[in-house]
Symmetry: C2
Subunit: 321 residues, 2 copies
């Protein structure tokens, strides 16, 4: 099968908001007036981001989902994506499933696939996502204010716990395993929440490396500190039952792969946020507060457990550290 | 060295036309009014697109150059890029050189690097390029007309010949080797030509897989046929001296990696194009003409050598065929 037939068969679908899609030297789109274009990109490598033998449907879904998540974190409407992929060989069954998962996510979040590249090589995927936001309204990492509440959506730790189970490091119930593996394999980007947070959140980030690592990005960009309470971090029973165990604390706070949103907002927005939570049928939990950086350290994030500060060694996923 | 310090040190540079660059969940840009945004992307894999031990400066330059070439092919001004890269390890000397080459190209073609991702994995690079073009003025592959001249810029075959020399398949002179290795390692995208062809070229493509394969894209998109004369294809002496040799013909027409532009234009534009050639100090050669597809084949591209049709087995680079 030629490269061109491969693209035609597995990646060329109708678009709904694109002037020129796959098939020329470039795609052409128009950005709405008075809007900025947001662009984000992620690379996923077999063996690092997913198991070599992971279900291709899940890989396809997740490759796009983690990028839609970045758009959500900016309060931005995801609209277009490109996909570059290196394949060790043409395995049509694999491609069909990968494509199915990718486009299932694209359809759910209304994203046009407008371009890309296919090449031979070790299985590596790069997705770039583009979206629009009214000029000036994007939610950045840098806007947190002293006194702001810190919120997280959904539950944290599920994906990391699912992975730990697959690696034989923990033993959880069947029901919890289902939840955890869904979170690991087919995370749902919080797109609707992200859009709804415009004008509410002072800063926002999506949790990919882990709550601590990602909240630290907000603190660094905003030059502030924070204190969070472990007991307030939303999580399933397994975590609640083992909350004093350091290894379990690390899974929850630093395991990563959550794709929930962590954002800050003034206290005056509490009612609005609680209403939003009901409207979206999505838990949104207040886990702590922004304060001044005490000045003793570059990053000042304190985690309390039963009112005592806890120290964690593992800060979050970093490819090279 | 952490992932974040890596990005900061080797990839975070000042931008000149970007609202929000590297450092947040997404970059933010504004597209000029009455312009379309063009987006193109390429993936380069060690061992496929470049030797594992190729000079990192060259890899950096070429990773961006091949993408700027896609913008040129659309008559589009390249403006922004993102870069995702998987690295087997953090080799700072390698990264410093890669970064140097990448930004040398970015500076020459005035491109802002606005985002990306770094991860651990087999050396794989994906660049996405974005540019602007006044709405409706992008040059596509599909506009060729019967009777149009077919033109190519620069010289073809140099990169393929250089590679053939490195592989011990040919023996060329020292001077020619210098030219060929420059073409192979640090191709110059024909950005100025591409922009100047708006309103002149009816179709355009950049030659990456090879003249035949890429011209065929134009023919397929335009539903037309073409005849080209081998003697008119611009090339260095080595090719001219061996033009009857099939293997050499294949290098010239199907070796690929040229990054010259191949475009069509009405005969009435000949003088304009010749003037443009002088202005840009860039050879632009008329190699044949567009005609109707005779209907016998899906793709109807005839190559004449000494007025006789020649048959070539190798059509151009395809990763999977």
């Amino acid at each position: 099968m030629s490269e061109f037939r491969l693209i035609q068969q597995y990646f060329h679908r109708a678009t709904s908001k694109t002037d020129l899609g796959i098939g020329d030297d470039a795609a052409l789109i128009r950005v709405s007036q008075d809007h900025q274009l947001a662009i984000s990109t992620d690379m996923l490598v077999a063996g690092t981001h997913f198991f070599q033998d992971a279900a291709p449907y899940d890989i396809g879904w997740k490759a796009l989902a983690v990028n839609v998540s970045d758009m959500a974190a900016m309060g931005t409407q995801a609209k277009w994506a490109t996909l570059t992929i290196a394949l060790p060989e043409v395995n049509e069954a694999w491609l069909a499933e990968f494509s199915k998962g990718f486009f299932a996510c694209a359809e759910q979040f209304n994203v046009d696939l407008i371009g890309g590249d296919t090449t031979r090589g070790p299985l590596t995927i790069s997705v770039q996502i583009m979206g629009e936001v009214p000029t000036g309204q994007a939610i950045k990492r840098s806007g947190a204010q002293v006194g702001d509440d810190i919120w997280v959506s959904g539950e944290l730790g599920n994906a990391a716990l699912g992975l730990a189970q697959l690696q034989g490091k923990v033993k959880i119930s069947e029901d919890e395993l289902t939840i955890c593996l869904n979170a690991l394999h087919t995370p749902i980007p919080r797109s609707a929440l992200g859009l709804a947070l415009r004008g509410i959140a002072t800063s926002c980030i999506d949790i990919s490396d882990g709550l601590l690592a990602d909240l630290e990005h907000i603190l660094k960009a905003s030059s502030l500190g924070a204190t969070i309470d472990l007991e307030k971090v939303p999580c399933i029973e397994y975590f609640k039952n083992n909350l004093s165990n350091t290894a379990i604390q690390e899974l929850l706070l630093a395991g990563g792969d959550d794709y929930e949103l962590c954002f800050t907002a003034p206290k005056t927005k509490r009612e609005t946020i609680n209403t939003l939570s009901k409207q979206l049928d999505l838990p949104i939990s207040n886990i702590g507060a922004i304060r001044l950086n005490t000045g003793r350290m570059d990053i000042d994030l304190q985690v309390n457990h039963q009112n005592n500060k806890i120290e964690l060694l593992k800060q979050g996923f970093d490819h090279f550290a």
